[in-house]
């Protein structure tokens, strides 16, 4: 499943549910190690064979020659004859690399050990998780844990494994499997809030919106108890709001959209979706008020074409055709350059995109990336973890250069290099696909906007003709212009065309529909 954008209002919940998404490993669908492992199962080594293989290694270990131990173990794992010893060798190699302060290399070794024969080396699962947390690359273990959930490990380790496995299952689209695995996550697990949030997302992906609410609510309280940052809370509130929206409880959806903090990067998106909720409640003024934020000059470079078009439609429903036409013109002038820029991004290589996004994460902007795209990834946990892992790998590779004389160093460098390349490629591809998707949708919207404009002009003409013949605007349906009542503790400011930064998001519109008698406004029933 692509964790990038949403294509229509119906698939709204598919957008931005990026708590964490696993990535496919860079090692292919069928591992040759599996075949070796199968062979090894049918060929049990003898003690003499073990001694032949591991004897010198044990001697070196007893002598404290860790580097030599590593070199010898690398020889074993590279030798296809000793496939039956690969799992153990990888495991032991992981341990000695860990002792040599090469955590990422050790993690890769453990991952290979578990992948070769998880049952035989189940004891390394805990260390593998520890190292994965340390280097920031838990994604490396997701697939191997997904395939070995029933390993004989202690409860805490199983809980961690379950969360990582569930992420892989979610990534693969195996929602039922993910739900089942998530039940193994203990409430004492450090990632329990994330696991509950993932559960809610998975349920929503299954269109079980009502069922998704409870785990998301638990995620909120668990996150608060665990001292999670505001960012986590905002994300869960956003997903809760979407769940309520999916369950067509628009009032509650509005309430949770409003809880997304103003400082969050997801706030403009939350405002847009909240506007949809108002729209579904036929509160056009409310919709327009929320979308006024997105047409403010502060959002000129942001990517919210849907907000612009929703606004156009809302204006249309109020028969404010000239305003709608103006909005369409603005839409075109604002988004045609953005479309061009997205096209450039989509045509850029994955590695270049990864580097650009890394630069955005460090400095807050990048010349290649549009702001919305930049913020979408650079503040995302998954990309941040991948970036940290890449940098850790680069650092370890530099340190390994100092000991090139040791054969294990070359092996470890190769492994790290492969992993680094894989991460850059995968993340870069995500960015590329997102840009491609955004460009495509924007192109479609721009085309449709032209057609909408023609329709708009026709109605606008009719409105003016009526006005010109009668000398006045035709009587609009009588709508009581209620005096605006303001709650205590609130202040109102008249709007005079100036946009103040502190006022964005607090607009309230009370416009009267101008549909003449005979023209009715309404909302779609879909």
């Amino acid at each position: 499943m692509r964790c990038s954008g949403f294509t229509s209002i119906r698939t709204i919940l598919a957008f931005g549910l990026c708590l964490s998404v696993s990535i496919p490993t860079a090692f292919g669908q069928s591992s040759p190690d599996t075949d070796e492992a199968t062979d090894a199962m049918f060929t049990m080594p003898t003690m003499e064979e073990r001694q032949t293989v591991f004897g010198p290694i044990d001697d070196a270990f007893r002598a404290g020659q860790k580097a030599k131990v590593a070199d010898l173990l690398v020889e074993v794992v590279d030798n296809p004859i000793h496939t039956s010893f690969h799992a153990e060798s990888y495991a032991r190699l992981g341990a000695v690399l860990d002792e040599l302060s090469l955590p990422y290399s050790a993690l890769i070794s453990y991952q290979k050990a578990l992948k070769t024969d998880a049952t035989a080396v189940s004891s390394v699962a805990k260390d593998a998780i520890r190292l994965a947390d340390q280097v920031g690359d838990t994604a490396l273990l997701e697939s191997v844990f997904a395939a070995n959930v029933g390993l004989d490990v202690d409860g805490a380790t199983r809980s961690r494994m379950a969360y990582l496995a569930a992420r892989e299952a979610h990534h693969q689209g195996n929602y039922s499997t993910a739900l089942a695995i998530l039940k193994m996550v203990q409430s004492s697990d450090p990632f329990y809030p994330e696991s509950k949030a993932l559960e809610g997302v998975v349920l929503a992906m299954q269109a079980r919106h009502k069922d998704a609410i409870a785990p998301l609510l638990i995620a909120v309280s668990a996150g608060a108890n665990a001292g999670r940052e505001t960012r986590f809370e905002d994300l869960v509130h956003l997903n809760l709001a979407r769940a309520y929206y999916g369950a067509e409880n628009f009032g509650r959806a509005i309430e949770y959209y409003a809880k997304v903090s103003r400082s969050s990067d997801a706030w403009p998106q939350a405002q847009l979706e909240r506007a949809w909720s108002h729209f579904r409640l036929t509160d056009i003024n409310g919709t327009l008020g929320l979308l006024h934020t997105h047409v403010s000059p502060f959002m000129n470079e942001e990517y919210f074409p849907e907000a612009a078009l929703l606004r156009v439609y809302s204006l249309f429903l109020m028969c404010k055709f000239p305003e709608a036409t103006k909005q369409i013109e603005n839409f075109k002038s604002q988004y045609e350059p953005q479309q061009a820029k997205l096209g450039i991004v989509a045509a850029t290589s994955e590695e270049q995109l990864f580097d650009a996004m890394a630069n955005h994460a460090d400095t807050g902007r990048d010349d290649l990336l549009p702001p919305t795209l930049g913020y979408a990834f650079s503040t995302e946990d998954r990309f941040k973890d991948s970036l940290a892992a890449v940098r850790m790998a680069e650092d370890e590779m530099k340190r390994l250069e100092n000991i090139l004389a040791n054969p294990f160093s070359a092996w470890a460098s190769d492994q790290l290099g492969d992993r680094r390349a894989a991460l850059r490629k995968v993340e870069g591809k995500r960015i590329q696909e997102r840009a491609y998707d955004m460009e495509g949708r924007l192109g479609q919207m721009l085309n449709d906007a032209e057609m909408s404009k023609l329709d708009m002009l026709q109605f606008e003409t009719r409105l003016y003709e009526q006005a010109s013949h009668t000398g006045k605007v035709a009587d609009a349906r009588r709508v009581v212009d209620r005096k605006k009542r303001v709650k205590r503790g609130y202040q109102t400011w008249p709007f005079e065309g100036e946009y103040w930064g502190d006022e964005v998001g607090y607009y309230r519109i009370s416009a009267k529909p101008e549909c003449p008698t005979g023209m009715q406004s309404g909302v779609p029933t879909e």
Binding site: S452, S468, Y490, S510, A511
Partner: protein
């Protein structure tokens, strides 16, 4: 799919008028009878308001602070002043406050020049020593200002009126003292800062009905105005 397309195609509005949609493009009749411009089909600024939670509520809060300033407008004296205030905000616009202040009047250059050898004249000026004033503050204006487009400061503007008393002493060597009833009138502004603090700038005119013993035979009572300009730092506390 776009947002507009499905709704436009399915909308009853379009169904009603779709057939007759091919109309003339002239927007206005050549014989327009309308004599005035009509805003048709636009979103006016008057349709839009900004509704925000009051960031610096005052109602129910106590306000305490210290102020320092000057009374520079007297003809013959120049007085640095300090004061302490404490009060309660009864609502967002109304507050009651007690101000206790003191000063140290100095002879200004005119005074020194007149009593110098060239003129040999001494005005019967009085030095401000201290005052107590109970005031009511009315702040109907709440505003905000944009500093170079980067920072926004919220502030209010208030008027005040109060009654009290002031103690003054003659600057001539007799140093005769006088306690005068006073009526205070003034205006000020609070610039709200973080953490319940505020900067207050205020000008207050105390009108004193002063008795001067040295001129009892000719005129003993005088109306004196003490116009003081102060800058203060106050903090808000939740009132009980």
């Amino acid at each position: 799919m776009t947002i507009a397309t499905p709704f436009f195609k399915a909308h009853p509005l379009r169904k009603a008028f779709g057939a007759s949609a091919a109309l003339a493009l002239a927007l206005f009749s050549s014989q327009a009878n309308a004599q005035e411009t009509i805003d048709v089909g636009v979103l006016k600024n008057s349709d839009i308001t900004v509704v925000q939670k009051v960031l610096y509520p005052k109602s129910g809060q106590m306000e305490f602070g210290g102020h320092a300033g000057w009374m520079p407008f007297d003809a013959y004296t120049s007085t640095p002043i300090i004061s302490l205030t404490g009060g309660k905000h009864l609502s967002e616009t109304l507050a009651a406050e007690l101000a206790v202040g003191g000063g140290y009047s100095l002879k200004n250059r005119t005074h020194l020049l007149l009593e110098g050898p060239a003129y040999g004249i001494v005005p019967d000026a009085y030095a401000h020593i201290g005052s107590v004033m109970a005031t009511a503050l009315w702040s109907p204006i709440y505003a905000k200002m944009n500093w170079q487009g980067t920072r926004i400061f919220h502030h209010d503007i208030y008027g005040l009126a109060g009654i009290g008393a002031a103690y003054e002493q003659a600057m001539m060597p007799d140093a005769s003292g006088n306690v005068a009833p006073a009526l205070g009138l003034g205006v000020g502004a609070r610039i709200f800062l973080k953490n319940g603090r505020a900067l207050r700038i205020q000008i207050r005119d105390d009108l004193l009905w002063q008795t001067r013993v040295k001129t009892e035979d000719t005129q003993s009572h005088f109306l004196k105005q003490n116009v003081g300009l102060t800058v203060g730092y106050t903090f808000f506390k939740e009132g009980k």
